[in-house]
């Protein structure tokens, strides 16, 4: 089964890269953009058919490796 995870910085953590992208978009003429936050996207192939088990494993790897929960949140998509 295919799972994906999106890791983003928590709201209270400064994201200088997002800020620069935001500013650049404004400089390019996109005046109506109010905020940009940059994150990471992972695609993972799992040899497991049970979606509940997949979710469990995905939770574990997000907590243990893919994100640092001090500063980041993660969101998991299954299938």
């Amino acid at each position: 089964m295919k799972i994906s995870a999106i890791v983003t910085l928590k709201k209270e953590v400064l994201d200088p890269q997002g800020k620069v992208v935001n500013q650049t978009l404004k400089n390019m003429g996109y005046k109506n953009i109010s905020d940009v936050r940059q994150g990471k996207y992972f695609e993972i192939e799992l040899d497991e058919k049970d979606p509940i088990k997949c979710k469990e494993i995905a939770e574990q790897i997000c907590k243990k490796l893919l994100s640092n929960t001090v500063i980041e949140n993660y969101k998991i998509n299954i299938g």
Partner: protein
């Protein structure tokens, strides 16, 4: 006094620290990250560099190395652990020290000498700085922006666990003396037991007055003359 320096793929300050430790009569061994056993040591050092090319997050992949469990056991028994630069990043990723190091506020790699105020003199790494508590060390990092939430910052300040703060030559600490955006100008912190120190500046680069300066020497002398 015996020490072990852990070498990861991408470490590049490991031999510099070995030179510094040996200069101050500390008997050192290099230990590969994938070794299962840590040789008997009083001090373990996680060196600076770019372990695993900084993939995913700085220090993150190294924090999952085989030797790490041994290092955690070493610290539980009261052994000393020093993480410099990338070593500090590895310490936060293992959870041995709280908080995390983010990219520098200005998104630029910084390589320069900075002034620091030694804000905790009561530990095995810093007690010799009683002689001189405003020092000059070198920093070289892209992710040195120490981040801690307000609760953690309060705990670090209240329990006096901050070892170094970025300052000016007179010891003034403010936004103008903060090179990378670190919370409260933090350059290095200790754990509650004060046997683990993580710091972004490089003391091993300041041990020869002819080349650079001597303010790093005081740390290695502190370690050799453990309290």
């Amino acid at each position: 006094m015996k020490s072990s320096i852990i070498v990861f793929p991408g470490s590049n300050c490991d031999r510099d620290i070995a030179v510094a430790l040996e200069k101050f009569k500390i008997k050192n061994q290099m230990v590969w990250h994938n070794d299962a056993n840590l040789p008997k040591s009083d001090l373990v050092v996680l060196p600076g560099g770019f372990s695993y090319g900084d993939y995913l997050r700085t220090g993150c992949i190294a924090s999952k190395s085989r030797i790490i469990d041994e290092i955690i056991n070493h610290t539980k028994k009261g052994g000393l652990l020093l993480g410099i630069c990338n070593g500090f990043q590895i310490l936060t990723e293992t959870g041995l020290l709280p908080g995390i190091l983010l990219r520098n506020k200005e998104l630029k790699f910084i390589s320069k000498n900075v002034f620091l105020k030694v804000t905790n003199l009561d530990n095995n790494f810093c007690h010799n700085y009683k002689k001189k508590n405003i020092i000059k060390l070198h920093i070289a990092h892209n992710e040195g922006n120490y981040f801690a939430n307000n609760d953690l910052l309060k705990k670090l300040e209240d329990q006096n666990l901050i070892a170094f703060k970025y300052s000016d030559r007179n010891g003034n600490i403010n936004d103008n003396t903060n090179p990378n955006g670190s919370s409260n100008n933090i350059a290095g912190i200790l754990n509650s037991e004060k046997n683990i120190l993580g710091m972004m500046p490089h003391p091993e680069r300041m041990i020869e007055p002819l080349l650079s300066g001597e303010d790093g020497s005081l740390m290695f002398e502190s370690l050799f003359n453990k309290k």
